[in-house]
Every structure is written in structure tokens, then in C-alpha cells.
Symmetry: C2
Subunit: 477 residues, 2 copies
Amino acid sequence: MTQETSPPSFAGWADVAPLLVDVAAGRRPADRVVRGGAWVNVHTREVLAGHDIAITAGRIAFVAPNASHCIGDRTDVIEAEGRYMIPGLCDGHMHIESGMLTPAEFARAVIPQGTTSMFTDPHEIANVLGLEGVRMMHDEALMQPINIFTQMPSCAPSAPGMETTGFEISAADVAEAMTWPGIIGLGEMMNFPGVSNADPQMLAEIAATQRAGKTVGGHYASPDLGPAFAAYVAGGPADDHEGTCEADAVARMRLGMRSMIRLGSAWYDVQSQITAITEKGLDPRNMILCTDDSHSGTIVNDGHMNRVVRHAIECGCEPLVALQMATINTATHFGLEREIGSLTPGRRADVILTSDLNALPIEVVIARGEVVARDGICLADCPHYDWPAEACATVNMARDLTAADFHIAAPEGANAVTANVIGVVENQAPTQALKFELPVTEGRVQATGEVAQIALVERHRATGGVVNGFVSGFGYE
Amino acid sequence: MTQETSPPSFAGWADVAPLLVDVAAGRRPADRVVRGGAWVNVHTREVLAGHDIAITAGRIAFVAPNASHCIGDRTDVIEAEGRYMIPGLCDGHMHIESGMLTPAEFARAVIPQGTTSMFTDPHEIANVLGLEGVRMMHDEALMQPINIFTQMPSCAPSAPGMETTGFEISAADVAEAMTWPGIIGLGEMMNFPGVSNADPQMLAEIAATQRAGKTVGGHYASPDLGPAFAAYVAGGPADDHEGTCEADAVARMRLGMRSMIRLGSAWYDVQSQITAITEKGLDPRNMILCTDDSHSGTIVNDGHMNRVVRHAIECGCEPLVALQMATINTATHFGLEREIGSLTPGRRADVILTSDLNALPIEVVIARGEVVARDGICLADCPHYDWPAEACATVNMARDLTAADFHIAAPEGANAVTANVIGVVENQAPTQALKFELPVTEGRVQATGEVAQIALVERHRATGGVVNGFVSGFGYE
């Protein structure tokens, strides 16, 4: 299925088919030809040496051993020199805000890493600016030279009744967003107890997405694979990225979900789940690689989806299967397999040249037919949305905080207390409930040793609320 | 992606999700439970013994080793007794008219054979009754207890300028049909020279289909896999069923099409192409089994899609891969993978019980949760459309024919002639151009030996046209 989600500035296949047909037939020269590469075919799972790709109007018109009949005087020819031509990489689920960047700057960071498509859920801004904020992110996403599809946030706040967010997302908001051009589906349905309990708002959001023919993202963050999980699946989410072990991945795929396995800045869930393919031998078509959350430091230092694919290969996955998990599997999941995810006629011309399918150096990146990066340098313009002043001044505090706001008073006369401490586990989402004996000085509980103090400062509604607590597991001494 | 193509009488997943969730969670009894079968999982390509399937509102609510929490006093329990539970079979491309039956009677014939979904292009009636006739077929299709999705005919007539049909299909007709509830895409685009030459009408029909987010069916009946084929692919068709050799299947899949391989009453194109999977080892996800044309005699005597799957297995295909080619591959191709094609939550409860995955006896057929056949007997009601009288009286001849209409006059005084003869090749679509020496009696050329006479009688426009010719290859002596 071809989703009609082309940004306004980029013509759909239906609009440019006459040009593509003419180029393929040799009646019209291509805009650009990538010549003499090894065609990595993610449909058949083959590498075919000595192929050319002809591009016009930002889409692929022709792929064959010889595209010389597509080359005219003004055709730009890029010599692949035998390198692999792989499809631009797709990030199946992620949050741009985790990079501490806007969509434009995030795009500029990941383009040299070979990411040309992202499925992004702006639920952080939804908490701050509501539907209007989501629209701003969506609009800036559509301005970029790569494909940024927006998943409409489903759960803002993520824990209803336990948070004081700036805005909330309603089922009506979801239904409205489904009419926007860049919305590809519903963002991760985090209220999994709600779905399992048939919560009307959650099911209404899912129904609005299904009726729009779009994909419902899941988020089932529990090890319980019994009826509660089955009820969640019956509610409609089509994928899940919260699995942490092989059994999680297997259960999701068996029940007809796609298992998204993630390597983010703090998520390391690929190695423990990819064995469903590499050892158990299941059909790999329903596994998808994603990042979920990448800090910009991770992107600059270690990469983005190229890092995830490389890691999957290091975990024993065949390179072509790993590439399928970051290209065609993702495209198929979102109903975009005729739009992105492979180097075949009609698709957006998102092409990477790399000299090594294992180490995956990203040498040239072409997005929608334009060379957007070479040797790690972004060559594309990533335009900024005209963010209104209100969007840049959302911290609403009413008063300045003082040191006293962060004092944790001990019971009268105590020299030490037993404190509840959040136990962070490295590279995992779940935390532990710990207890520590902490000293008291001048009537205040002190964070010592590996225990640090943490504070949640209310910043939306000017309530002045400051909640203090303790956390361990960051490796402080 | 969930296509919103549920017939009016059958509720969509979005409508019944609260029921499905409640059944899965054990808060509400299922309508029906199939107990103790071997779950054939076409997502993971596994057989999992000892599973139950709980069904409600015609959809699957729960699949697990134990669904006893879904069983209430009024739940109908079907004992699978260890038999395989496979998804109802899908015919990826076919013409109901080839069975010489209406949709209702075709459904009644194929239900006991395990076919529960068909993608049918009523282009024969389009030639006779135009868009109105297509609508009648479409409407009767939606009345059936199985899933009959209509592909809007693209090429009526199939050879413009060489046929005098009753009606013609225009690009505007195609655009209109895309709004009908049962239209799944465009029927086989047979005018492949037109597409390769960027014919505006053909590209407009394809564009209307793509813009509706639906699937464009292909038909490229030529051995030329060069630029003409590439130009056809660039024009937008997403599948093709005219391949006859391994290279055809490979070329289609490499260029991002799905290769449909057919076993019809007269098409035997599976054995020669399935080697792309069984010997060449390509990813099988892009190969789909279909019948294209099945005479009702073939259905009754040999089966329908069960015959095709069985044949694919006999050709060396692993049974689970062959089943994928008749279930989930087809569903995914048409954007219906969350609606049909697997036995997983939310999907229409189309289930077959069979005791042998190779011989594939069809013992029980459940469609949308109802038992529609047992041991070869159809138990379902297949309602007839109220066909108007005009639709049953379309043969418009103006006069009765006489024997003289079929006389082929020889040149004056000739005793014998060299005649052009159509050479039919068994089980293939292409014909040969042959010449035979034929005798002349009383001034008329005689069909003798293996040569038979064939006549094309104009029956739409009362032109009185009768075109006579000769044909060989039917095995006459």
C-alpha cells in the first residue's frame, strides 16, 4: 500500500510516474545515475554486483546492470566504484526530543549516519504544548530533506492521575491528527493496563487510528505474557519495543505484532532478543530495529541506525537480515513498502554507499535523489520551523527556587533514617525499589556514597511543587 | 495496516475491540473456542502443538495453550483433536467469471476447499455491463460469508481498438470505484505496452488507485525483461502473475513487485517459478500463490487454493512456506495483514482444521467465526444478489445465425489453401502463429485433422459480425 504521506514539497509516485516510465524506457534522461555498485536487494535478500540506479524527480526510475540509456548530457553520474548500495536506514520508533534537539537539528545529526526515515512520536512536547506542539514538530518534520513520519502521541500524560502536565491528549485530538499529512499512526500506547482493561479513551484512540488505516504503536512494559498481554494485543497495538528477552520477542511475533528491538543511548535490548532469529530460526520479517531514545552525544560519537544495524550484526545476525530489519521490514509495517525501504522503481531515492556490509561505514548518503552527506559531513539544508515565542518559553515557575526547596527534613532528633531509594539498572527501563540507611545532618537527610538526590520540579502550572527523592545506580561514589 | 473494507454486515476490529479485549482477559466468554490444535503460525513460520483459539464477534480474541478462561456456558467448543489449525486460504488474483458462476455460487464451491479470501477482478462482466456490472459483482461479493475483495477492472477492453465490447472502463470509472467499500485495488493492468509507453489513461487509472492507498495489480505478459519491463514496473503495478519461468519470478521480486504464481485450470506456472525459493533460496515473502482462472469442474474435482498449496509442496516447497504464500504474504500485499491471513488476535476468524500439512485435507472450515464447511460439505448460506433482468439478457444479436455465417470461402477454383492457424500450447497463455495446408470442398476451406474451426461472434452491439478462424492444439484427431 502506498500511503499518501508525501510532504507537500515532494511529489508522489502517482504524480511523477510519467517521468519515471520515460526514464526507464530511455526516452528521457535521468537526473542522476549511481553507477557500478553492488545492489543490496532487501526484497530477495541478495547482493547483486555491477548495477546502476537511475533517479529522477527524487525517485528511483530504473535499476539494472546498465543504465546508460538513462544518461543524458545533464545527468549527474555518481560512481559507486563497486561499493554496496543499500537503502537509506529507517528508525522504526523514536523520540526526537530525547536528542535534546528540534527535528531539523536531529535530521542534520543523523543524515551523515545514513538515517533517511524516522518514525517519531513527539510525546514529550505533547506534555508541554499539547496538540499544538505536536503540530509544530510535525510541520518541521515535513520540511526536512529526509522522511520524518510522525506518530501521534497516545498517552500524554503517560500515567494519568499521577502527573501534572501542561496539556493532555484526548481521543478527539488523536482523531484530528489522523487527517494531517505527516501522521503515520498512533504513538506508543503506554497505558497498557488501560488497554487490557478496555479503557474507553485508550480504545477510542486506537479505533480512530485503525479507521484511518494507520498503524497503532505499542508499548507493553511488563514481563507478564499471560492473558493481560493477550488482551493488550487484542486491543489493537501492532508493534512493541519494550521486550527485553527472547521470550518477549517471540510472544509478540507469534501474536501477529512486529517486535521492535532497540539500541538507544540507554536501551540495550537487541542482543537478548535477536536470538529469536539467529538461534531459534523464526521468520525475520516481523522484527524491526529502532533506537527509541538517542542522546545527541550518542549520535555524534557512535552513530544512529547504522550503530544499531552494526550491533545486530555483531550479535550474530546476517548482514542482509539486519539490513532488512532497518529497511523493508519497517516500511512494510507502516504501509510504506512502495514508498521507502528498498532500492526499486518508484520508491524515494534514499541510497547509501558503503564499502563494508559489516562495519557499515556511511560514505555517501542520497535522500530523495539528492546527495545529503559525504564522509560524515551533512551537505543538506535542514530548515527550521518558525517556532513561536510561546513555544520557547514554556517553563512556568511563578517563583525562583532556593536551596531550601531541596532540603529533605528528617524526623525530629533522628541521626539517621531508612530511606526509599530508586534503584536504576544500567541499560534497562525498569527500576528497583531499594532502601538505604542515610545520615542526618542539621535535621536534613544527606545523600551519600552511591546514593544521589533527585528532584522533580513542577514547571507547567506554577504550583511551586518540588518533590525530592533519592536514586542510586549511576555509579557515583 | 487495517483496510476499512469490512462488509457492512461485519464489524471491524475497531468496533469490536472492547469485546475482544474482554474475552482475552477472561471477563467475558467467547462465542466459540477451537480447542487443542496445532497452531500453524505464519508470522514466525512455526507449528505450535496444543493451542486453543477463542473467537468472538467473528474475530480471534485469544490464542494460547489454554483458553479455558474464555469458555462460558454458551461457548461453542470445537475439539481440534490435535489437528493443524491453519489460516483460511487466500487466492491472490482470480476471476470469478472463469468458473462460469456468480460470486455466491463460486463461494459455495470453494468454501469446502478452504478458500476464505479471494481477490477477484470482474473484468469479464466489465466488458459486458461496464461499471454497473462491476458494482453488481462487488455487491454480491460483499454479501458472502467469506471475504471477496474486488479489484476494479483496469482494461476493458483488454486490447483497445481491436475489440467491440459492450462497455469500456474509463479512468473516471476507476476513480469512482476506489470509493466503494469492497474495492481493494486495481485489477490486472493488462495494457503493458500502454504503461511502458506512458499512456495517459493507463497511468491515470494507476494514479487513482495509488492515491486511494490501494494496490495496483499487474499483468506483464512478455518474456522481455529489459527496459520495457522496467518501464512497466516504474509505472506502478505492484504484482504480476504472468511469469512462466524462474527468471520471470526473480526479476519481479528484485524490482519490488510481488510475484504471483498460478495454478489454474489451464495455467501451470508454479513448478517453473517456485525454484526461485526452493533452489535459488530467495526470501519467500514476496511470492504469492493464486489460481487466476478456475473452471468449476476443476474446483469440484481437484480443489481450489488447497490444490495450489498442495501442488507447491509437491514441487518441493516447505509446507509452512507454501502456506505463507497463500495466507500472510497475500494479506500483506493488499494491506490486510491485520485483517486476514493469520490466526492471531483481531483478525477475522478464518480457520481450517486439517490432519495433514502435505496432503491438506480440508476437514473443517470456519469463516468469520462460523463453521461454514465440514468434510467437503458447504454449510453456509451464500446469498444471491437480486440481479436485474437486463443483467441476464445481454446477448444482443439482432438476428439468428445460420450455417452460412461459419463458411470460410476459399479463393476461386482453389483445391487447397495455406491457412493461418492459432497454435494453442497446453497450460500456457501465449499461442503460436502456425500455417497449415487445408483442403477446400465446395469452395469452402475445411478444418481437418488436428485443426478445428473457431468463430468469434459479436454479441454486444448487434453488428452481425462473425469472424472465423482455425485453431490447433486441443488434441483433436
